[in-house]
């Protein structure tokens, strides 16, 4: 073999190796699950293994799941899993003096217990453009100086998407300044300043949660279990807090999505400003009218949204849903 041929073969071998490495790299963290009535626990462990994250759930033991995804991003896999298990997913940052306490708290979460820890979170309502493929790990947090750990974590819940858990009785003073960064790095720095341990865990929470009125105080932020959007529950939430968090999320959206999300948000804010001073009953009537007329105001958006929701389910889930639709109609 001549030197030229040897050189060409080596060059091709290097190119092939680079192509292979690029392919591996580009698919790093993507999820493939092919499960038919498989134990949920096994599916969760598989996702953990493929992505390197930790997932906890409060779903009952013995829960099974059917889902099929091939090389999709983690957020999409979690969305599909949540739909298939009638659950919601979020990311939580747990800060405690040591990892043992974090393990114990996650065990309590799995058993549906809620005592002994604060769980800072702001339940934001679903908004067009705000949900979807957003990865909350990418959120940036620009911490403002606070006195202690709890105050920082409460600020975190206002600033980014996610929950912040900490023991009730663990609230050291934080003196070290924190710099702006991705949320997980800020939490890591915060834990160091508090001489504590921090862990990031994805939570798959089933829908059997307490009534919102029990856990959402007027401050709009809670030490109790996370809850869904408090829009129709007549809950005295603090609009300013929720508005600030939605605005923070919009600010972090890609430019091409930001304008429409901002417009939808501004429209909602303007409407709620007009009804703020009304008596409760009148306000509820206005809210009902507002949403009843949504189809006329944003026709394309409304039915596109319904199509997206239908399509997010599996065929089997839709069959169940359609059966209910048909039976409800026939019962009238």
């Amino acid at each position: 073999m001549t030197n030229r041929a040897r050189f060409a073969l080596i060059a091709i071998a290097i190119l092939s190796a680079m192509t292979f490495a690029w392919r591996l790299w580009s698919e790093l963290g993507l999820v493939t699950i092919d499960a038919d009535s498989a134990p949920l626990d096994r599916v969760l462990r598989s996702i953990e293994k493929q992505t390197g994250i930790a997932i906890a759930t409060d779903a009952p033991t013995g829960t099974t799941v059917t889902m099929h995804v091939i090389r999709v991003p983690l957020t999409r896999a979690l969305r599909v899993l949540a739909t298939a298990t009638d659950a919601t997913w979020t990311v939580a940052y747990l800060v405690a003096p040591d990892a043992t306490e974090i393990r114990a708290e996650l065990g309590r979460y799995a058993d549906g217990q809620t005592t002994g820890w604060k769980r800072f979170t702001i339940p934001t309502p679903p908004m067009p453009g705000l949900t979807g493929s957003h990865d909350p790990r990418e959120d940036r947090w620009q911490p403002q100086p606070e006195e202690n750990l709890h105050a920082y974590l409460e600020q975190g819940a206002r600033a980014v998407e996610g929950q912040f858990w900490v023991p009730d009785d663990f609230n050291p003073v934080i003196n070290a300044p924190l710099s702006a960064n991705r949320v997980e790095f800020v939490v890591r720095d915060l834990a160091q300043a508090a001489d504590a341990t921090a862990e990031r865990v994805f939570l798959l929470t089933t829908q059997s949660r307490p009534e919102p009125t029990e856990v959402v105080p007027a401050a709009g932020i809670t030490g109790g279990p996370p809850v869904g959007a408090p829009f129709f529950a007549g809950v005295p939430v603090d609009r300013a807090v929720i508005d600030a968090q939605i605005q923070a999320r919009i600010d972090q959206m890609p430019a091409e999505q930001r304008a429409s999300a901002q417009a939808a948000f501004d429209e909602g804010k303007a409407f709620f400003n007009t009804i703020e001073a009304l008596p409760a009953i009148e306000r509820e009537g206005k809210i009902a009218d507002h949403f009843a007329n949504a189809m006329e105001r944003n026709p394309g958006q409304m039915d596109a949204r319904m199509t997206q929701i239908d399509a997010s389910q599996t065929v089997e889930q839709r069959i169940e849903f359609f059966r209910r639709v048909v039976r409800d109609r026939n019962a009238e």
Binding site: I33, V69, I70, R76, T83, W89, T131, A311, S312, V325
Partner: protein, 201 residues
């Protein structure tokens, strides 16, 4: 004895260089070819849905101007009286159409690529399209839908009747592009695309 060198033959280096050039050209052309093919698939699927709209319109006229009951799959029925309700293929055949109308090339081509299911929906359900039963029995003069705030009137241009089968937020069209999509047939005969990425998580 000495080996005679064949001056007409390609050397290994020339061969490898040619393969590399062809490979590079192919990689440049490939995405355009895929886009063109997807556009053709989408056009065919949209056309099928429009024709399906005509079939359903005829069935609606035959049903005192009320949207008909249609079953998607008798082996997994949504109606209690599924045996008495036509499936989409039966409806198309009854109107003198061909079941090819119910075959979307994108569905067949993408079988299993995102949902992990082995077959296409056309093979599985006999149709690439799914009937949405929300307005069954409603009159075309005044279709309504029940919501949390009572019964709402819905214009025909917003009455969703049929859509491409989709699962897990993945429709048959534009996979791997800026967002997979599905087409929706409305009661006024129009067909509109809905991008699915960004659906509720």
């Amino acid at each position: 004895m000495t080996a005679k060198r064949n001056r007409n033959a390609f050397t290994l280096v020339e061969l490898l260089a040619a393969i590399a050039v062809v490979g590079m050209l192919a990689s440049l052309v490939w995405p355009s070819a895929i886009r063109a093919r997807d556009a053709a698939d989408n056009a065919r699927c949209t056309s099928n849905l429009r024709q399906l709209g005509v079939v359903i319109q005829t069935a609606t006229n035959d049903n005192d101007n009320r949207f008909p009951e249609i079953e998607n799959d008798r082996s997994a029925p949504i109606h209690d009286n599924a045996d008495e309700v036509m499936t989409l293929p039966e409806l198309v055949l009854a109107q003198g159409g061909s079941v090819d109308l119910l075959r979307c090339p994108a569905d067949v081509r993408n079988a299993g690529s995102a949902t992990g299911r082995v077959t296409s929906y056309y093979q599985w359900k006999g149709s690439s399209y799914e009937w949405l039963p929300f307005f069954e029995g409603e009159t075309t003069a005044n279709p309504t839908i029940r919501g949390p705030f009572g019964t709402l009137p819905v214009p025909l241009s917003r009455v969703r009747l049929v859509t491409d089968y989709a699962e897990n937020g993945e429709g048959p069209h534009n996979r791997g592009g800026s967002g997979s999509s599905t087409n929706v047939l409305y009661a006024d005969g129009s067909v509109r695309k809905v991008v699915l990425d960004g659906g509720e998580r």
